[in-house]
Symmetry: C2
Subunit: 414 residues, 2 copies
């Protein structure tokens, strides 16, 4: 028998009306002949409200209690969805993460799933219940409530799909899938029908936040195929899998954009062991997230070291590093806000030369200056001025043929 796991995010359950629509969708899936397990996030705004309350009480609330507090958001939303199913004549029960058998380690606010014992879910499915599981949470071996970190409901859904050997896993969200580029920037952007886990990871890490990265990594590790689709419209979304059928044909799957970046360059860093370590230890100690790190080969005994970070962290980083620059014997530091990152992503680029040259050439023709370059096996990222990002995105999207009308799959999209 088919078993479908459906995950609904906070905006999808943001009001009584929307909850009712989720319930209808779950019932439709069950009528279609499948066992149905839903994973529910907290209603939009609820988690932020709880965090605000906690911060009124303590600048750094204890992690254990933060988990006990925040887990109530998903627990409440799950109960409401179950009520809605029942009031439409269906049969549903809600389960907390703990009751659903999700056991994590004890790392509060960022717990890792240790294992899932889905016995209770199977029993309820056998009695024809739709099982509504509170996302984002589990239970430590000591029995304390834990949470999986921001976006953790995605991980709950993927992990449950793996544990239950689900035939389908559908991640419902407020976008209708992953696109070749942000449609607000590039109107010709297409929805991607199929995407490799690695591509989705690079797209997510590069700003297209449709899924929590850890959830995608988990799906990749356990080979859980899933579909990202709209909770508002009934159209097919984007299917993530190990290797899409058209993998060889598609060199670049999409162009990912990240705004509001800042760039820091430390010049004349002595080329000796420990210098880079000292710089990034200071940054990590201040809890700042660094994105790209670039260091050039050195021939003079001195090198330049650049990195990017979110512009909200920019002033703190500058303040921390200023005294450090002289202490490690570097010659100076330049720090610039107002930059952005553009990445082209595709597992096909592994076997194709020429992606870099095509990217750099098209940006050059458009007069966009490249400030930093960084590459991974399936991604090329450049840092450019933020006010040139739109133009750069449009020419890149066109240069890689992403705007061309799609073939067979287009008709099914309606």
């Amino acid at each position: 028998m088919a078993l479908i796991v459906q995950k609904y995010g906070g905006t999808s359950v943001g009001s009584a009306d929307r909850i009712r629509r989720v319930a209808e969708r779950l019932l439709a899936a069950q009528r279609g002949g499948a066992d149905v397990v839903a994973v529910i996030s907290a209603m939009a705004g609820v988690t932020d409200g709880l965090i605000k309350l906690a911060q009124e009480l303590s600048p750094q609330p204890s992690a254990r209690e933060m988990d006990a507090l925040l887990a109530t958001g998903e627990q409440g939303a799950s109960a409401l969805v179950a009520m809605a199913v029942n009031s439409l004549g269906g049969k549903a029960v809600s389960l907390t993460g703990a009751a659903a058998g999700i056991v994590t380690d004890g790392a509060h606010t960022k717990a890792k799933i240790a294992h899932i014992s889905p016995r209770r879910i199977h029993e309820l499915l056998a009695e024809d219940f739709i099982v509504i599981v509170a996302g984002f949470q589990g239970q430590s071996p000591e029995g304390a409530i834990t949470t999986l970190g921001r976006g953790g409901s995605d991980l709950t859904a993927i992990a449950l799909a793996a544990a239950l050997k689900a035939t389908d896993c559908q991640i419902f969200t407020d976008v209708d899938g992953v696109h070749t580029c942000d449609p607000r920037v590039v109107p010709e952007a297409n929805k991607i029908d199929e995407i490799a886990y690695d591509e989705l990871l690079e797209m997510a890490g590069a700003g297209s936040k449709v899924m929590q990265s850890r959830a995608v990594e988990f799906a990749k590790k356990f080979g859980v195929g899933f579909e990202v689709r709209s909770s508002l419209r009934d159209t097919p979304g984007t299917k993530a899998k190990a290797a899409p059928a058209n993998m060889e044909d598609v060199v670049v799957r999409g162009v990912s954009l990240e705004r509001k970046q800042a760039k820091v360059t430390i010049c004349g860093v002595p080329d000796r062991p420990g210098c880079a370590g000292e710089i990034f230890s200071a940054i990590a100690a201040a809890n700042l997230s660094v994105d790209m790190i670039v260091q050039n080969a050195s021939s003079t005994g001195m090198t330049d070291l650049s990195f990017t970070l979110h512009h909200d962290d920019f002033l703190v980083a500058e303040k921390i590093l200023t005294p450090l620059v002289s202490r490690i014997g570097a010659s100076g530091m330049t720090a610039t806000s107002g930059v952005a990152k553009l990445s082209v992503v595709g597992i096909g680029m592994r076997s194709h030369a020429g992606v870099a040259s095509r990217l750099f050439a098209c940006l050059g023709r458009a007069g966009v200056n490249i400030q930093l370059i960084s590459t991974s096996e399936i991604k090329i990222a450049v840092v450019i001025a933020e006010d040139e990002l739109e133009r750069a995105a449009q020419v890149t999207h066109a240069a890689f043929g992403l705007a061309r009308p799609r073939l067979a799959t287009t008709a099914a999209d309606g």
Copy 2:
């Protein structure tokens, strides 16, 4: 070692400031040398908000899901109190009812506590934690979240005090104890220092709602002494116990008032088995709560049957009973709203004659007409016109000497 259970209601944790004050009080109790267990209600307004959400989804939400939803209120408030203790430098952990070992039957929304396994609480107390338990909730043998009904946090506190063999159980509320009468009606009303369980039950059932009745019954059954006191001021409250020291001296402990009552009299009811049963089955089926029931001895083969109920239920009762009156062969029905109930309560009245006569005489002197009379072993209740209630309360309070200055205990009252 002393072990104190403290229960805080919804208004006592209604804001960040108040939560902080609760935390300070818990820490003070711990510094006083006691192990401390707190039982916390949902923040004021939260439960009503959740109920409203549920009702938007379903006119009759499923009881199981209602419990899962409502339990989040107490769970969240408990986590916030634990955070507040921790941020003040203390050590606290919050536990859901289930984690605290509270096992109930499976009667959702009105579960009964089956037993408590306080192992986890003892472990945490041994590690010097203040243990914060979410009130109002437990877990069924099947592992579903259950709730204990309105005011259930009182029951949680009393039951935990029994299971933990607590040396003290303190019920913190927004009043500073139980009074000889409602001070808004009788300004000379005194706080009662000690009260018998049975007296408190009759006072509670008669409108002085400082405690959930089930909690008082539980305390009586297991001999758990407790104190009702103010969370806003640091003054002694009212201590409830099996038999207060001054039991013999005090004939009437207090005067309890209940407004907004309605009275229904069915006249000429045939005096045969089954008639009363038929009437009250119809009322129970409509989920109406009846308070007093009075039936006079019959000599004519016909009798009059009267009962009181809350005036909100008045029209429904009238509608249900109108067709029933002729079906059972009664001669008619009169139904009056705008009445109130006044009760004098005291376990001392068991051994004292003359309470009834003194009550009736003082009301007669004041020109208050008595419409119905009903008595229990420790209570005499009369139904009178609601607009005469204040006058009746004042003369009754005076007639039983409740306003006299108290003796020894007064000095300790601060």
